[in-house]
Structures are given as C-alpha cells and as structure tokens.
Symmetry: C2
Subunit: 361 residues, 2 copies
C-alpha cells in the first residue's frame, strides 16, 4: 500500500531515474562509465556552486561525514562543532572518534545557529568549524552564508566543513562564493536517486588542509578520489547503478533549472507548513529557519505518535519519519525534497486531516 | 556494442535482478526493508558457512577491507599480511594506514600461499593474519581451509581475517568450520548484483576482538551494524536499491542451490582455462591454484595488450580486465563469476581466437 514515501530520505525515485539505474552493468574503468562520471561531475557544479570538480564516494551521508573529517583533520586538532540535532551531534561524534578535540556549541533543537554565537566560539581559533546546513532531525535550515561570513570575519584560515546531506540540490548552496571548504551530500536526498553515493566538494583551502591532515584514511581518501576522478573513474568500485540513476536525475534537474528546482522546494515547503498549521498542529522549527526540504511537526499531547504514523501508512500509504533521540514520539517529520510535487504534500495533508479526526474521535 | 562484460567485477546483473533493483524506494526503517534484510541475511549464510548473522555495509570491497581492519585491531597490533597480488597488498596497506605493525609475507604473484610458509611467519605470534581467498589481480585461489588449519595448529587466539571479495558466493567457504574470524565480500562479484553493498561475517572470536579493538571507527562500526541488523535495518542509510537486487539474486542462487552454483563455476573455470591454452596462450596462475572466478592470461611477447583488449571490446563486445600494477600489459583477466554460463566464456574464446589471428597476421 505505501506509495507516498515522505521520509526525509531515502526519497522517491522518478521511474525514468530508477530505470536508468537498471541499465546493463559496465566496467567502471571503461569509457561508458567515464562518460557517466563526466556528466555527474559537471551536473553537480551548479548545485554545489563550485568551479572545482566534486568527488564521488560510495557510501551513505554518514560515510561522507567521516570522509570529511579524516581528510581535513589531524588527531588533536581543535574543532568547534555546532550541534542543533542528531546529525550535527553525529558529525561531532565522528570528529571525536578520530581524535579531534571537539568543542561542542549546542544550539537549542529547533533553533538556527546565530552567527554571533558561532563567532563567539572562535576564541581560541579552532582548526575547523563544523556546521549543518539542514538539520534533518529538526527541520531547521541554517544560514551558511551568514555563518561562514561570521567565521571569515575572524579567520581566513579556519576550515569550514558543512553537512549538506539534506540540502544541496534542493536549497541554494555556493561553496566558492561563501568560502566554505568542504560540503557533503548524498544521492538519496534532493538528488532523486537511490542511496549509495555520496558527493563532496572541496575548496582550495580544503585541498591544502588535505595535504597536512594526518588522521588515518584509506577508503575515503580524497586525493585518490580526485586523481581517479580526473580520469573518469573512482579508486574503488563505485555504486555503478546509482551513478546511472544520478546521471539521469541530474539531467532532469538541469532541464528544470536549478533556480526552478529551488523555487519548487520553497513553494512546497510553504504549502506544507501552512497546511499543517491549518490543521491545528505546530511546527517544531522556528519559523525563520524552517527548512524547505524537511518539516518537523509537533505531535499533540493526546495523540500517540506511533499510532498516527501507522494510520498514515496503513490507511493512506503515506510514510513519514518519526522523531529521533529525545524527539521520538514528540514530533514526526515530512520529507519534501527531490522528486516532490504539490500534490504529494497535499496528499499528506489530506491523510493527516483524516487521521487526526480519527484520533480525536 | 559491449554486451559480454567479463571484467572480474562489476559482473553482469541478470535482467530480473536489475529490475528488482529498480523497485520503488522504501523507508530503510520500515517493514518492507526489514523483510529484504531478513532474506539477505538468511540467504548469505549457506555461502558464508556461518551460523551467525552476516552484516550489511554500504561501500565497496575496499571499504569492507577497511571495516575488517578497524573493527578487529588496535594501533600497534602485530599483523602478518600474506600478499600475493594487488588486493593482498591493499589489505596490508590499509592495516598499516590505521597503525597496525604489519609484517608482509610476500608470495610470488601467480602462486598460492603455502601453509608451511604462513605457519613459519607466526613467530612471534601475531594478533592477526590477513589472507586473500581469491586474488583478483592474479587469478589465484588460496586454500583457506588449509591455511587456517596451519594457523590454528599454532594458535587458537590469532585472528584470521580473510578477503573473500571475489570468491564467496562462487567458491565454497566455511567460516565456522574453518575457524576463520572475519570474511568480507561485495555485491558486485559472485552475487550478480550491482556494486554498493559489502557483506561481512564475524566469528565469536571476532566479536570478542571487536570489543577490544581501539582503532578509530564510526561508519564501519560492526557493533552498530549488528545491533541495527537484529532489527532489520542498518545504522546509516543503506544502498536500498542494491539490497533489492541482492535479495532477488540470492533467491536465484538458492533456487539453483549452492552446490550447483559452485559446480557451475568449476565447470566454467575449466572450460575457459582449457580453451585459452588451446589457443596457445599461457595461464598466469599455477595450475593447482587456478581460480574458478577469475582467470589471468599471459599476453604473448609480440602482442600489444591494449590493442588486443580494444579489439575484443570494439569488434566483439567482450570486455575483459587489464593487468594491474607490474602486470599491466603482461596479462589480461577474464571474470567468470556470478551470472555466467558456458556460452559466455565460449564467446570470449571465439573472440580471442579471431583477435589473436588478426594480431599475428
């Protein structure tokens, strides 16, 4: 019965993209795959806002988080991690697991990180600041342009490492213009593709840091990925089918046009937030920072979140995400990134209206 | 034009498996994916020869090599790495990159590792021995049963870590019976599935080692994978489409029956080796250790390997692998694992006959 997959990833895959992913297998060191790589690398650039070539890694977004850490840092490096939810906390945990000295700047979940709060954490000046563009667990979008500007006002050397897993491809991002050093994303979010590939962009400052970083690395090594990428391949066997899918998804996204893709996400985000509030529900994120890719909705005190999600799923085919960590049972999350149209969120709202009426009866 | 993909991975994907991989996306924390996970975990066991549940990781075989290292070892651990080709060397390099003290036992490429040679390297007793079941770069299959017995005759505590990337699913493997501690494999080899998933089996001794190991780990953490696996999910978003494909591929492999799958690989391996020798070509691997999944063929002195492979590809649609490292230009490699029938290797032999005649003319 489920047909309206509205978890914040994996996201629905358009039929043409799924079929592209099922194309006959090829040698990942041959000319067919090199052409796929070229299309992907070229197609990603307008969404990353970078002139350099993004890297392709095989793994999930968490794998790309680990990759960003081990390629940029050395054990003992002083790192400021701005944490406003599960994924910010995960990024901090990974840095600590590999030996960074992590100073966590905790932001109330549901709130955006303020530039002045981040700037105040830069004494002493850390080697790197870790930011989350879109916190998937709370539905908050941080203003990376403003946060990066606040950091750059203090230091032109501190690395800025950004989790863009659930943002890039749906929300504007400008790696070069914002002077960010590393940003990561995953195929199963805004990119309308199956999970299995992570994409990373690195600044010149980031490449310089890569040369100095001494955390242990092998599989995630950015240098190997860059060298092989220049030859249209990857150091290790990539998720070839996912790459086929991503090539087609990017073709569709570029045909729509990045600005139109971003506008569609803005429109749909507003539509969903207004619709949810019209149902008498409250949003979890502060309004000014509400995400256009994921919406976290507070569960009314007298409603059983598990029963609500089961009802949505079993009676309406609408699959939304539950709350994570201490938000389990207190919120649910609706994904609206990638392959999403107004009718998809309207169907979510209709199903919610019915289920809430049932719960209240 | 290419249609007979005979590199030693990625291997051809049967149409039904490719279509299963293109099924509509699902929530990786929902009941549909839990059912897929259950089928995969159950289906892998007869091929791994283990009673415990194998783990599912998203990444390539190299990622799984890294996972095996960081979950089993601590920096400074004394490790014996038996190296007979590119992939054995890679396993040793990964262990060293993460701080193991690696003693390399180099075996002449093309030769199998002898039990007495490995046994002789166990003074002083290392924490772990790293072995390659099937060395994809040379077409040699090592006798893991005999090697493990030789190690166990000396020590019941030394960990035995095995690269089974290009063997398991095509060649018999018995983790429990042979008393091996960790073995890894990848979806794109014998499993007839697209690349993107790695599968790992761990012994009880291996789990005890996991609890003691202190190399930094997060994404590859076996404990997280085990805990989530017991609930039918993964700690981080898995390659869901590849899992759909693998579920269907395993269904087909179990329908054929593991013994029949192994027998088919033996028959096809013999057929190819005899055919190649009938063409006046020599095999690279010593006959007693010739692999039934990958055959390395020596290139005659007066033949340009690049031109030969191009001819096979452009005129016959046959894509074989080139030599790696110092074997580049000296051998080519034919993959015959997973979705392979006698007619596929017969087509390789016909194409080779034509191209060699052209080269000689």
């Amino acid at each position: 019965m489920p047909s309206n997959l509205r978890v914040p990833g994996p996201t629905p895959v358009p039929p043409d993209v799924a079929q592209a992913g099922a194309r006959p297998m090829v040698n990942h060191r041959g000319p067919e795959f090199a052409a796929v790589m070229r299309d992907i690398i070229t197609g990603l650039k307008p969404f990353f806002g970078c002139a350099g070539d993004p890297l392709l890694l095989t793994g999930s977004g968490t794998g790309a988080q680990e990759a960003a850490i081990v390629n940029m840092l050395s054990p003992g490096d002083d790192v400021v991690a701005v944490v406003g939810g599960v994924f910010g906390a995960r990024f901090a945990d990974i840095a600590a697991a590999f030996g960074a000295s992590v100073r966590r700047v905790d932001i109330a979940w549901g709130q955006a990180a303020r530039p002045e709060v981040v700037a105040a954490a830069l004494q002493p000046l850390p080697r790197a600041v870790i930011l989350t563009h879109n916190e998937t667990s709370t539905g908050v979008t941080n203003d990376i342009a403003a946060l990066a500007a606040a950091i750059r006002a203090v230091s032109s050397e501190t690395l800025i490492i950004v989790d863009g897993v659930s943002s890039i491809g749906a929300l504007p991002f400008e790696l070069d213009h914002w002077d960010v050093d590393v940003v990561i994303t995953g195929s199963q979010k805004a990119w309308m593709s199956p999970p299995g590939l992570a994409m990373v962009a690195v600044s010149e400052r980031g490449w310089e840091a890569f040369r100095q970083a001494t955390m242990p690395r092998y599989y995630w090594d950015f240098g190997k990925a860059r060298k092989n990428g220049a030859n249209g391949t990857t150091p290790f066997t990539p998720a070839v089918g996912v790459a086929f899918a991503l090539q087609e998804a990017l073709r569709q996204m570029l045909a729509e046009g990045p600005e139109n893709v971003f506008a569609r996400h803005r429109t749909i985000g507003s539509l969903l937030r207004e619709g949810v509030q019209d149902l008498g529900l409250e949003l979890f994120a502060e309004p000014a920072a509400a995400s256009n890719t994921v919406t976290a909705v507070q569960v009314l005190d007298d409603v059983d979140a598990g029963a609500l999600l089961r009802g949505l799923r079993e009676r309406h085919g609408v699959v939304v995400g539950s709350g994570q960590d201490w938000l389990k049972g207190r919120i649910f999350r609706v994904g609206h990134m990638g392959f999403v149209r107004e009718e998809d969120v309207e169907a979510v709202l209709r199903a919610l209206r019915t289920e809430l009426a049932t719960a209240a009866a």
